[in-house]
């Protein structure tokens, strides 16, 4: 591993930040955030959202950056071993398997949605999206197009989107194969600015729509913004709002996801992690609030009114409602449609490449595999899982099951384990000293208290509330649905595989004399 340590590293300080930001900025920023905000109090949603950002995401993110860099100095770049070092033993190490499982399983369905985005942008470029008739007829036609294009109308269909899936999967593998510096960092260095440019183009068009239909004078840009931003303070007394805000922050920032543990482990001992962690979070928030919070809902409201938005899922809004909106924009419509879906594609691919990296590194370090073989093994596992998602695509059943158990529940669990390891096992004071090393900003000392007390308690309350409100229903549904049940079997088989690999790795690391349990500072 010492050879790898010398050769694998980031190119520049900004490069690693753009890579982490690219991992964080995804579909959730443009589709999930506006939907969550509009449903949970509009502008008032920003109060629990900012609380969750300051008290949960930022401190846990910093903890991840610090633990990762520390683990890296011990020769580890996989989340399980890094948590074993900072959590000082087996329990943390085996919980750390989640840091490999989460990105790996999320990749299985995320890359499928990524293929939809590429397909839609291609269809807009080649004039493949044709909507006719009244608004209602166009909405129906857009829904049918969505079902046909994505294969979500029925199970067992490998349609044209499978070709786009193949393109996307190949692109992901090539980028990861080219390595951190030559693949991921290089790609994110142009993809992030390109995303910002496309977002600005779409945003400018949306904000200059005015009142396109004089017969509906209330459907204008200002009222569209008001639909999202006018606060409903009564929602603040609802626990669901606080839960939704914490959930949104988590999914959006990739905290508790396992990617930061891998990416930041390649930093050098004296590299900054304090300002880097904050900059990556700020970049993500810029895309989420600055762009996502202004584009999606506003555009849909202006053309379809409040009744066209209510009850529409966030994915439905992005893939079914917005094509109708683009159609109303006249000549510019197809170009804005292309810009929108290519923006989503770039947001998705900068996230998906980060999801392959943790498992690849884990197989390299635990099994002593070469870079190429580790990528091949990761690609085969992820590819098979992804094919399962594509095959059982009716109403996105397999996708939703993975998203709930791994992309939601496991993230809360891993984040809880991480902050407890950081604040109580490794020690918040020691962790803060690690954060200060090479830091370009001084983190306010109040965060020591937040990391030790507030974040773990806040997180346990959120996790408890989530389990209470969501788990019973999900378990009941799973018991009666064979696809959900078999999807869970796949998830558990993945866990078993990773646990076995970790056991093999642990033996190898001990034999190599590595500080597996973090006994020395």
């Amino acid at each position: 591993m010492s050879t790898q340590k010398k050769t694998i590293e980031w190119g520049t300080r900004v490069g690693v930040i753009l890579a982490v930001s690219g991992s964080a900025v995804g579909l959730g920023n443009f589709l999930r955030f506006p939907g969550q905000a509009a449903a949970h109090g509009g502008g008032a949603f920003m109060i629990p959202y900012v609380c969750a950002l300051l008290l949960l995401a930022l401190p846990i993110g910093w903890a991840e950056w610090a633990m990762a860099r520390h683990g890296g100095t011990k020769g580890f770049h996989n989340g399980a071993a890094i948590l074993g070092v900072c959590g000082k033993g087996k329990i943390a190490r085996y919980f750390g398997v989640l840091a490999i499982l989460i990105p790996m399983v999320v990749y299985m369905y995320y890359v499928y949605i990524e293929a939809w985005c590429l397909r839609y942008s291609w269809e807009y470029l080649t004039g493949g999206v044709q909507l006719t008739g009244s608004i209602e007829e166009q909405v129906t036609e857009a829904a049918r197009f969505f079902g046909d294009a994505t294969g979500t109308s029925t199970n067992g269909v490998l349609n044209m989107s499978a070709v786009f899936w193949l393109i996307v999967v190949t692109l992901n593998i090539v980028l990861v194969y080219r390595g951190l510096k030559g693949g991921i960092e290089k790609f994110c260095q142009w993809a992030l600015p390109a995303m910002a440019l496309l977002a600005v183009i779409v945003l400018v068009r949306v904000l200059t729509l005015g009142t396109p239909d004089p017969t509906h004078p209330n459907q204008n840009v200002l009222n569209g913004l008001g639909y999202l931003w006018n606060p409903d303070f009564s929602k603040l007394s609802d626990f669901e709002t606080w839960l939704a805000a914490a959930g949104q922050i988590f999914f959006s920032l990739s905290v508790g996801f396992g990617v930061i543990l891998n990416y930041a482990s390649y930093l050098k001992k004296k590299d900054d992690v304090a300002l880097s962690g904050m900059t990556a979070s700020a970049t993500n928030e810029l895309f989420e609030v600055g762009f996502g919070g202004l584009i999606t809902i506003t555009a849909a409201f202006v053309f379809l009114g409040a009744s066209g938005i209510v009850g529409t899922s966030t994915f439905g809004l992005g893939f079914q409602t917005l094509p109708v909106v683009f159609h109303q924009m006249g000549v510019a419509g197809p170009w804005i449609g292309f810009a929108w879906f290519f923006l989503l594609f770039l947001a998705a691919i900068t996230s998906s490449i980060s999801m392959l990296q943790p498992a690849k590194t884990f197989f390299e370090e635990a099994l002593g595999m070469s870079h190429g073989k580790a990528i091949a093994l990761t690609s085969v596992i992820c590819g098979l899982g992804s094919l399962w998602v594509i095959w059982f695509s009716k109403n996105t059943m397999a996708l939703d099951t993975m998203d709930f158990w791994v992309g939601t529940f496991c993230i809360f669990v891993l984040a809880t384990v991480q902050i407890i390891c950081f604040g109580w096992v490794w020690g918040a004071e020691k962790g803060m000293r690690e954060l200060d090393q090479g830091a370009l900003i001084r983190i306010p000392r109040i965060f020591l208290f937040i990391m030790k007390w507030i974040a773990p308690i806040y997180l346990l309350v959120v996790l408890g509330g989530f389990c209470y409100s969501q788990l019973p229903g999900k378990l009941r549904a799973m018991a009666t649905n064979p696809i959900e049940l078999w999807t869970m079997v796949i998830i558990l088989a993945s866990v078993l595989l990773l646990v076995v690999v970790l056991a093999i790795g642990e033996r190898r690391w001990r034999a190599a004399g590595l500080d597996v349990d973090g006994r020395t500072s």
Partner: protein
């Protein structure tokens, strides 16, 4: 959009744009990285 909507939107936008610009300026103004130090 009502007055509260404007307040929440503008504060949120100023915060995200302000923090992001400040953070990148701070990074760009930082001393160059020490390439001799390996992990």
């Amino acid at each position: 959009m009502n007055a509260w909507g404007w307040i929440f939107m503008l504060i949120s936008l100023v915060l995200v744009w302000g923090t992001t610009i400040w953070a990148y300026l701070k990074l760009l103004g930082a001393p160059p990285e020490d390439s001799s130090d390996q992990s």
